[in-house]
């Protein structure tokens, strides 16, 4: 029997097959739970429940203010259980407890609070003025889309789940969430909070299990109106194709190979810390990580020296300790990927400046096969390690001679998700930011994502935006209501277009 179940139509149920799959703590390799393994039938049941809840249930008929009250209650419950959920999140995914406590759990609660505000404050009915002839008023109504499915990755399981559930239900939709197989546990806690807050049955559904069947069904089923996905670019293409069957709305947040540009007038102390934070936070398992540091040749030697020296001070260890900077990667398989790229980088002639191996002196009791040292290469932008997303703690440092060259290198990527500019000259930094073909640019900062501001990608990094009013409106239809105010035949266009005979 599984330790965690599926949540379908307001009930916690075993998978139809009765099967489960294990989830592990990557820091030690120990199994921490058996998770119900949903199959295609379970996905269809969840979709049916969501459909009925949307078509016949009360949720979409509540006022925005009433829905907002429920979402705020979810946030309150999450915050009240912060310590417990943080521990689950960190243990299951390998992120540090520090990250879980200051980013993941408050971030997840923050999404519910923010989208509660949207539900309450964003207008549902908008007066669009009058049309001169035929004389008519125009009104736009913003309405929920219907049944939304959300498929999320393992790097920020709790926050990603909140980005899919909160805006969807705030706008009056119903939702089916599929967490990543590596990290299902914190999503269970989020759904429990929704249940406890009194969100009606069928509005929030949870199916844990492999993507090959469940994910496919969530992306293609004709009763799903919108699919939102965060993950790999190729999977995004797959989802678009599956979703095309009945022309679902699709929002995708995909890969990245973001550039962190250090201009010659940057505050080098802050920039060095910012580049390391931009790359190595959560071991680089962040889609918008600044994994390419473009560094002005005027300050190159000094700056790269700072990076290498400080990278050696990043503390690897038990992710459940508050003093640990970096824990394990999500699984030993992810370390295999990193090793493969380190070898490819060396084969292509990239110069290894530090790292390049697993740590050798971890505290006893930790599974060294899931850890990797922060690694810095001096590379050329045409190399595989500078073009492909590794999703691990690997930074490519690339020199440039002019701002224009930095922009050109930054944009020489199939992706456009994040990016940074470090400079003490605001105009210069903003000019560079304006030329970067990417969905977010941080000037003199990195990784700052906040519920109130839009996040998403250019190019092959995605479609649409999450967060902010932009993200909220991805979950709302646009209905134009035209009301002719004429009282006789003179006020209509169609008599002229056809004739007065009709």
């Amino acid at each position: 029997m599984a330790d965690t179940k599926l949540f379908i139509n307001g009930e916690w149920v075993e998978a139809a097959s009765g099967e489960s799959f294990p989830t592990y703590a990557p820091s030690t390799g120990e199994k921490i739970a058996d998770v119900a393994k949903a199959g295609r039938d379970d996905a269809v049941k969840a979709i049916n429940a969501a459909r009925t809840a949307f078509d016949d249930g009360p949720w979409r008929r509540l006022s925005g203010k009433e829905r907002a009250e429920k979402l705020r209650k979810v946030a309150e419950i999450i915050n009240g259980r912060s310590a417990e959920i943080s521990e689950i999140e960190a243990r299951d995914g390998g992120g540090t407890i520090k990250k879980a406590m200051f980013a993941d759990v408050p971030g997840g609660a923050g999404s519910f609070s923010f989208f509660a505000d949207c539900a309450e404050n964003e207008p549902d009915v908008i007066d669009r003025g009058t049309n001169p002839f035929p004389v008519a008023t125009s009104t736009v109504r913003r309405e929920p889309i219907g049944v939304c499915s959300g498929i999320v990755p393992w790097n920020f399981p709790f926050i990603m789940a909140s980005w899919k559930i909160a805006p969807a239900i705030a706008a009056g939709n119903s939702v089916i969430l599929k967490p990543a197989s590596f990290t299902s546990l914190s999503a269970v806690e989020m759904v429990k909070a929704c249940e406890e807050a009194g969100i009606p049955p069928g509005v929030v559904n949870l199916v844990t299990g492999p993507g090959g069947s469940v994910g496919e069904e969530l992306a293609q089923h004709p009763d799903v109106d919108k699919v939102a996905f965060t993950g790999s670019t190729e999977v995004g293409r797959r989802i678009m194709q599956l979703a095309s069957g009945n022309v679902k709305k699709v929002t995708l947040e995909l890969g990245g190979k973001s550039a962190n540009i250090v201009l010659d007038d940057a505050d080098l102390d802050l920039a060095a810390a910012g580049v390391l934070w931009g790359t190595f936070f959560h071991n680089g398992q962040v889609c918008e990580s600044g994994t390419r540091a473009l560094v002005s040749r005027k300050i190159y030697d000094e700056f790269v020296g700072m990076l290498v020296e400080r990278a050696g001070k990043i503390v690897l260890g038990d992710n459940m300790e508050m003093t640990t900077d970096l824990g394990p990667l999500v699984a030993p398989a992810q370390v295999d990927t990193v090793e493969r790229y380190v070898k490819l980088g060396l084969d292509e002639g990239a110069k290894l400046l530090c790292g390049g191996s697993k740590p050798t002196n971890l505290p006893a009791g930790l599974d060294a096969s899931a850890f990797y040292l922060p690694t810095i290469f001096e590379a050329d932008n045409s190399m595989k390690i500078a073009q492909e997303e590794i999703f691990g703690p690997v930074l490519c440092v690339i020199p440039f001679d002019s701002d224009d060259e930095a922009i050109k290198i930054a944009n020489d990527s199939i992706y456009g998700l994040g990016g940074g500019v470090w400079s003490t000259n605001s105009d210069r930094a903003n000019n560079v930011a304006a030329e970067m073909r990417t969905g977010t640019v941080w000037i003199n900062d990195y990784h700052m994502i906040t519920p109130g501001q839009p996040f998403g990608g250019y190019k092959q990094s995605g479609i649409g935006r999450e967060l902010g009013d932009y993200g909220y409106n991805e979950y709302r239809q646009i209905k134009h209501v035209w009301q002719n105010t004429a009282t006789d035949r003179s006020g209509y266009m169609h008599f002229a277009a056809l004739s007065g005979n009709i």
Binding site: G215, E309, V315, L344, G355
Partner: protein, 145 residues
Amino acid sequence: MKIEGTEAAAQVVERAKRDRRGALVFTIGTGCCESTAPFLYEDFWPGPDHEEVGVVADVPVFAPAYLRALYPANDGVTIDVEEGLMAESMSIETEYGCRFVLREPGGAKAPGQDSEVCAVPDETSALRSRGTQELPEALRRIRMR
């Protein structure tokens, strides 16, 4: 770019062929959590710049232009399969509790290079003592997301 498959990978493909009615296709894609990896899909439409770079158990393997440019030679890249893992790739084999991976010749392992510069500092050995589980003061004021 020329990609081949191991016997183990071919066996998983054969199983997928029995389970699926549509045409199977491997696509080599990249980005985010999977990094560059093989994905086995049913009735998948390769993109306009995709070309066939190999065949595994009679199933064609496609790769986009930018990846073919990065791997111009016959690098000996193979599709293999690892047991006991589920990717979130929506690739068919995730249903079987395994996942396809790419391997370069000579295996996945990098030459063991212990860099002195980036060696883990000795303080980590002190981490066995269970530290306080309170947020540091500096972080209490921060709400990152």
